[in-house]
Symmetry: C2
Subunit: 669 residues, 2 copies
């Protein structure tokens, strides 16, 4: 270790102790223990441009053990990113991609960053396969990860690691901070597996550094070796001392709360620093890190020159790439969305979704996705699709865009977040709607970070029938609607399915969930691609209405049939289709009150928990229990999803409000 390297590492360590103490909250131990590996990565391997943190061919750095975020903030500060010393003193408790420049993905919930990195590596390999040409290595970056024991215990990381090994992602390099400590204490309490052997089993290249506190040459050589292995992801297990320098080093005591002032003073003395100086960065360390920015700026300049020559030689590819990087969809892509009339046959919305994918997959080439081993059920594979697979397998190649996620819903969602974070691609993934909750940890981060990720969720209710209650979502839409910044779209027919894709692709800064049926649905009168974007709209209007029936997805046509029954009795029903609570809630109050006019009671019908429906309706036909196994029509009948029962509920509701004032569902305090 050279003097300046040692000085830099100890600067990181003392700074970490100071920052956590100042915030009076946080995790000093891991940043101190990981300082050497971060030093190696940022000084010798990571290329990035602090002046343009989102330059597309940067190396990605992901701190999967997000609670160690002080380390990342410090490295960004030293490297010259727009993270000031004042920022350092009041940073978010976990790294948030949308808040801090240089943070690629939001981490903290354990295992997510690790799984995101697999998406990042997939993107790198795919874009390289697509755009690189002889002499034009436009994409040759690596994804570097630091991870702790916690992440490696999480199922989402296991799933992602197995997938990464299968896909042979040679551009992925993980440094595992093996400090033998988790929050409860020594890892011997609960985590005694042979981690490297497990990763070997996944098909990873593995290495070990026994003294990660001091052996910088060893770490450097290991990362160099890892880069040379281009057909396997790499993991390097690095034994470190958590909270090194503290009197409690190597124990869980230094993990999750600030060190004492006295302890910090002693640490500084031990590392040759002035114990009275706080937030101290020696000038020579500042100077030393200046080269990071210079190196990064030069790399981007060279890359821009390369791109300019590329434009001349490959104008079409260049135009496509530049369009993608500007985050613009192809002109007129939406014209490809199919439209339907009521005379078109009844079709399941999952099948209508497949039709949309077939129409747009080649027009919107940045779409990349697949299914968690339910391709034939989710209907997520378009006709011209090629598998994203390592070319040596002969079952696909890295230009392919159909990802075989395997039975790994949680990793699928986290990988999609990693793909969205990378740029230039729009990820989608499919499973049954009920199993989006298997992936919730990552779905939540799609929403929090504002990534355009498409969740294509089929078999969206008890209407899936025979598979029974283990597969029938009940609480799922309530959970999604309660989650901020995510669009939930449950289309009722072909036009609304096209509208759902239009909304999902046009919403650049939030994820979308498409809830799609297994069963066939008729094409509705007055349904509309464009009106879908308003979230809710009138399908059938009538003067002096007695009742409004509102439905979503597969229940809209039941509401339409219930309206027919009511009309035959002289009752005047209106019908509203409401594919998206979120989009509807964003409309003007004038619009919303035209959809739900005051004075007319509302009955909702949705084959899902009624929880939350009191917002837009006075009475509900919905689920209050789990479902059951059986043919879908029988199951629907059992739980009252029939025109007859909806009509009965409508009559009951009209009678209830006879002579009473009907509460407004729009005008509330």
């Amino acid at each position: 270790m050279t003097d300046i390297t040692a000085l830099s590492i100890n600067t990181i360590r003392t700074l970490a102790a100071d920052v956590v103490r100042k915030a009076n909250s946080g995790h000093p131990g891991a940043p101190m223990g990981c300082a050497p590996m971060a030093q190696v990565l940022f000084s010798k391997f990571i290329t990035g441009n602090p002046s343009n943190p989102y330059w597309i061919n940067r190396d990605r750095f992901i701190l999967s053990n997000g609670h160690a975020c002080v380390l990342q903030y410090i490295m960004l500060h030293l490297a010259g990113y727009d993270v000031t010393m004042d920022d350092l003193k009041q940073t978010p408790g976990h790294p948030e991609a949308h808040l801090t420049p240089g943070i690629e993905v939001t981490t903290g919930p354990l295992g997510q960053g690790f799984a995101n990195s697999v998406g990042s590596a997939i993107s790198g390999e795919h874009l390289a396969a697509l755009f690189n040409k002889p002499g034009f290595d436009l994409f040759n970056n690596h994804t570097y990860v630091i991870t702790g024991d916690g992440c490696l215990q999480e199922g989402v990381a296991s799933e992602a690691a197995s997938l990464a090994g299968h896909l042979q992602l040679g551009n992925l390099i993980v440094l595992y901070d093996d400090n033998h400590i988790s929050i409860d204490g020594d890892t011997e309490l609960s985590f005694t597996e042979d981690v490297l052997k497990r990763f070997e089993a996944y098909g990873w290249h593995t290495q070990e550094i026994t003294d990660g506190d001091h052996d910088l040459n060893g770490i450097t050589a290991a990362v160099e070796n890892a880069k040379k292995v281009t057909d396997k992801p790499s993991i390097i297990k690095i034994r470190t001392t958590i909270g090194i320098g503290s009197k409690n080093q190597g124990t869980e005591k230094v993990h999750g709360s600030p060190l004492s002032a006295e302890d910090i003073a002693n640490i500084k003395t031990k590392f040759g620093f002035d114990s009275d100086k706080h937030f101290y960065i020696p000038d020579e360390v500042r100077e030393y890190w200046r080269s990071f920015g210079e190196r990064g700026q030069k790399a981007e300049n060279d890359w821009n020159n390369l791109l300019n020559s590329y434009k001349d030689k490959y104008p079409e590819e260049a135009a496509d790439l530049i369009r993608r990087l500007s985050n613009k969809l192809p002109n007129n892509w939406a014209a490809a969305l199919p439209r339907y009339t009521p005379s078109d046959p009844a079709v399941a919305t999952r099948k209508l979704s497949e039709t949309v994918l077939n129409k747009i997959a080649d027009i919107v080439p940045e779409l990349i996705g697949g299914s968690a081993d339910l391709t034939g059920s989710n209907l997520t594979r378009w006709k011209t699709a090629v598998d994203f697979q390592h070319p040596s397998t002969n079952i696909g190649n890295y230009k392919g865009k159909y990802i075989r996620y395997g039975v790994r819903e949680h990793a699928m969602a986290a990988v999609m977040n990693g793909i969205a974070a990378y740029g230039g691609l729009i990820p989608f993934g499919g499973t049954f709607l009920n199993f989006i909750t298997y992936a919730w940890g990552a779905v939540r981060l799609s929403a929090l970070t504002g990534f355009r990720v498409l969740y294509i969720m089929t078999h969206d209710s008890i209407g899936l029938g025979e598979d029974g209650p283990t597969h029938q979502p009940i609480e799922t839409l309530a959970a999604l609607r309660a989650l901020p910044n995510i669009l939930v779209l449950r289309p009722a027919d072909g036009n609304e399915t096209s509208g759902a894709y239009l909304a999902a692709l046009n919403n650049h800064h939030r994820p979308s969930v498409l809830a799609l049926t297994r069963q066939n649905l008729p094409q509705l009168h007055n349904s509309s691609v464009e009106k879908t974007l308003q979230g809710g709209y009138v399908l059938e209007e009538v003067d002096n209405a007695d009742i409004t029936l509102v439905g979503t997805g597969s229940e809209v046509s039941i509401a339409v049939d219930a309206a027919k029954l009511l009309k035959s009795e002289g009752i005047k029903p209106r019908v509203v289709s409401m594919p998206s609570f979120e989009l509807f809630g964003e409309q003007s109050v004038e619009y919303r009150s035209s959809v739900f006019p005051d004075g007319i009671p509302v009955v909702s019908v949705e084959a899902m928990s009624t929880y939350g429906w009191d917002t837009y309706s006075h009475a509900h036909v919905g689920m209050r229990t789990f479902g059951t196994s059986g043919p879908y029509k029988e199951v629907y009948k059992k739980y009252g999803f029939t025109p007859e029962n909806v009509a009965a509920k409508a009559r009951e509701t009209i009678a209830f409000y006879k002579g009473k004032s009907v509460p407004s569902v729009i005008f509330r305090p």
Copy 2:
């Protein structure tokens, strides 16, 4: 293979094909491929009593690949359980524990059964350590599992496998149906890891059978070997042919839909059966399986005799065991629940929960649980706790009841389901409330199956402060409230925390979630252990009230303070505490309308998504976005959780309804 064995196996196979075809839905392939291993397990290893399926020392059999349930139904039918041939023809689409006798746990969502089996094995080891005495092997059963590729790809199974290896659960034996097929096709598409090497890395004993279609002696010997290894769980990889006999055998085509009539006829001919006979069980096969019930009945008789002698020699232990098996809590256990008065100090409900655990852990000895590596945060460890660890580790033993789950939330929940299914124990587990969604796949099955499982979820809102939005639940309570058959309890102080435990333990047939604060809360006037059981109750009443303020958990005291402010202005507020929507919803309409009297507008205050609160209130102070990092008081202020803002919302609401009729929140159509 003897003639009768071959005949039995082919009976299972042809019956599986017939049953799936009759149901016109289901999965014939795996049952046909797994018939030999099921034959071996049920004829040679599994001891169970069809006349008393819940005899406590039975061997447990768990079909983790639940879609192959026809296999399980057929084995139960053959073995003499109360599953008739008519039942067989109309069984649920996945095995449901509460519906079919002999089904231990509800499976289908992949990976769950595997993880449940770890809970089952923990229970077996713990109860053996606790109750077995020299000469009295009351607990010596095994947990046998059949699992497919799908389950082994799921994160929940990986987490559970790592935990099982760590805990050295020698009573757990897993048969892995390695058929190289998943729904999308050959496993080479997405699942190419070395499974046995991975399990070795976890510390498992591994074996391999290369011809699982025919090598019954090999399977038998492998299970015998597995039983001999008592300090490691065992997995046996068994290569099989999915849908063996079908013209499409060995492909995904036989996985998820019925075989054609012609194909089935040919299969029958191939296996020497009459192709015109359906649902055919040869007499000699029926006769052969009779011994299963005889063997099981004898085993239970012997066990009952053993228990009788045990009663004489160990009356105290016997009484405890018999009480547990009768599913009765100890007399007067609830008297130990602490009670508080307003003069008691402010304490966080997570800390109050710790106090409850300290009071009851030794009185209710069937409580067994821990935390997903957040012990010091969740405060789930009571003073006299001993770790559940393999005795060789010297950090605990199998009598210990504190489970170090590691950072494995999903496995924790699934393991708890396995413990609850086993009997004689009440499992609990802790993590941050936000991370209950990491475990949702298993939480949902706790609810669907009706297991008494306690989720002790701390840091229950943005009130956790500095960790920021990645850790702050927003949608979580809405999701839980929308999930059927689960109690959600968010206590406001010490009395309500005791009340929450009272509700959770007394509700034998549903799980409970306790949402607990990180921050301190004052002890409230008029709070009550017993009233907590009503879900919502009046904390402050007033004649001719202008407004009702309703809160949950940490926001109740804010509502109380807001009421003070309003009173000082001459406004008359009522205050309601509502620890549980579910319990409140189960009260009489008279009671509910006394809590929310007509004509008085209601303002809710809960630091959580407002989604769903329109049911019980007209206006809300709640969350509509994600939270932020910061000290909790600042964060609370930022989002309006202050007495001042609640009072302002109350004034606004009163003004809004001036001269208008106030909608009833109780009387609805």
